[in-house]
Amino acid sequence: MSGTNDTNVLSVRGLSIRLATRDGGASVVDDASFDVGRGEVFGIVGESGCGKSVTAYAIAGLLPTPPLRVEAGSVRLGGRELLSASPAEMRSVRGKDIGMIFQEPMTALDPLYTIGEQIAESLEFHSSLDKRAAMEKAIAMLGRVGIPEPRRIAAEYPHRLSGGMLQRVVIAMAMINEPALLIADEPTTALDVTIQAQILALMNDLVGANGMSMVLITHDLGVVAETCDRVAVFYGGHLVESAPVDRIFAEPLHPYTDGLRRSVESIGGAGGKLYAIPGSVPSAGRFGPGCRFHDRCGARVARCGIEAPPTTVLPDGRTVRCWLRGEEA
């Protein structure tokens, strides 16, 4: 990873997050570092419980504390440290500098206010626009995210719209203040594939047109391949590998990434037995001291179960957290 420089909008360093439990707590994210460049779409991919959503919540200052707590690390947005910011400061960052899109659009919308009121509210909160001007801008934004008859829809309540339309509304709301960074947590997982294709195309267009950066969190490798420039793979709270998207599936370095790729490719292939990673995903708190993937890994050596591997930065900027690769570098 090429250290912090001014082309990076977001810089996360050594982020560790713990979950408080009755028996002393569990490590949910351990020492994760990555950068997101200006105009870049950065994917965070992994299975349930891998720490991908928690990482995003920590960036936006939305971690439910307790039980979750940032233990160490730094999150810098445009050079400004967010982890030490006060709740009031974070409120002015969210919605203005960071826009957020969640899996379920209704978690972001209030059923008792019209679509237009909710989008305009975010504008009024973060700017000096009056109600009327804010509403006009909200209607224009609805048009830009492909809502037909935006003026009529602005006066509707959320329950009148389909899931795909609601997700467009949430995107409009997240982008209305033209934030430098958009965080999208499984934005298309609840949608059908034909609607997913619409929404992904829309997000790509908007990010490209506005020079915005995006962190896209997903479990779907296909979505990553379609949308992202670079990607980080999480497993059991470890960021196991990061690389440009055209490299990571063509030439994965970590055995877990390789296993994921082989699972997905063999589902798409023909005949015979499917490739499957043996075992199941461990839950947080059940990790030993070693590499968190070691008990499912076909390439493990004795050391893997005893000591967690450090993150190795390769000359081309890719990172990998694996003893096998660490030795080579």
Binding site: H219, E226, R261, G268, A276, V281
Partner: protein, 338 residues
Amino acid sequence: MRTGSGAERALLEVRGLSKHFPVRSGVFSRVTGSVRVVEDVSFSVGRGETFAVVGESGCGKTTAGRTILRLYEPTAGSVVLGGIDLAALRGEELRKARRGMQMVFQNPYGSLNPRMRVGELLAEPLVAHGIAKGAGAVERVADMMGKVGLSADLAGRYPHQFSGGQRQRVAIARALMCSPSLVVADEPVSALDVSIQSQIINLLQDLRTELGLTYVFISHDLNVVRRISDSVGVMYLGHMVERSATGPLFERPLHPYTEALLSAVPSLDPARRKRRIILSGDVPNPASPPPGCVFHPRCPKAMDVCRSVAPAGSEPEPGRFVACHLYQDPPAPVSAPL
């Protein structure tokens, strides 16, 4: 394809199956209309084969699966399983027939009673159908747990003590306890992580071979469907718009909806980003479907006739059924009412 080819060896014959739900409104909840959730669906599945029903949410695929099993009463049509017309069965006869057909659901946690131990959950169908009890049942449970890749030592545990993948193995084992011939699996891997999905798909494939099972596999995941099914029916807004052997369907989809659906699947190859048919608009409300072909408002190839006349099915190639005016033979008369 109105007359199923190989009708003699088909285990399951679904003919003209429809399921309409009444719409009630007003103070007295009078029936004021109906939602045609499944409309005139026909297909047959050979013994030991897998037929996949694919489509997006609300297309009627789950209702079709449940109506086949008589979990819902069909509004019209027939379902013949192993030569017996299920729609005509009542009472005890229906109960007996149910032994031969089972369902696996998407969410194993929802279909397993959390207060029962796994051993009890698996023995229950045996006792309910009077197949075995006591030591005999325990032995069969242990045997089935082995078949689905669970250690028999786990029989004393409760569902919450298992991972998602293991719970789906339990649900599959329970469905198979009465040795059914037909299993309707409704999105059986959709709730599972990618690395676990492959394990469960392999298990379903192995069991099909080992026990000679026939599957109706309901899914929205086209990659999974391509992998495991012998033939596929594509549903849109209650209608089966295309039906074909799996290979030809994926290589050369005929219906414009199938084509768009296939092209919408994200690919691992970043170079494929460009070639995409993006459908505009949403799936219409099934309570007020559009006139003519139900797909015409979103269809990139819609013609005048599509707006007013519902396409009758045709068989442009042997074994391929498609309901689309593009394939009407002879070409549909363009004498739409003026």
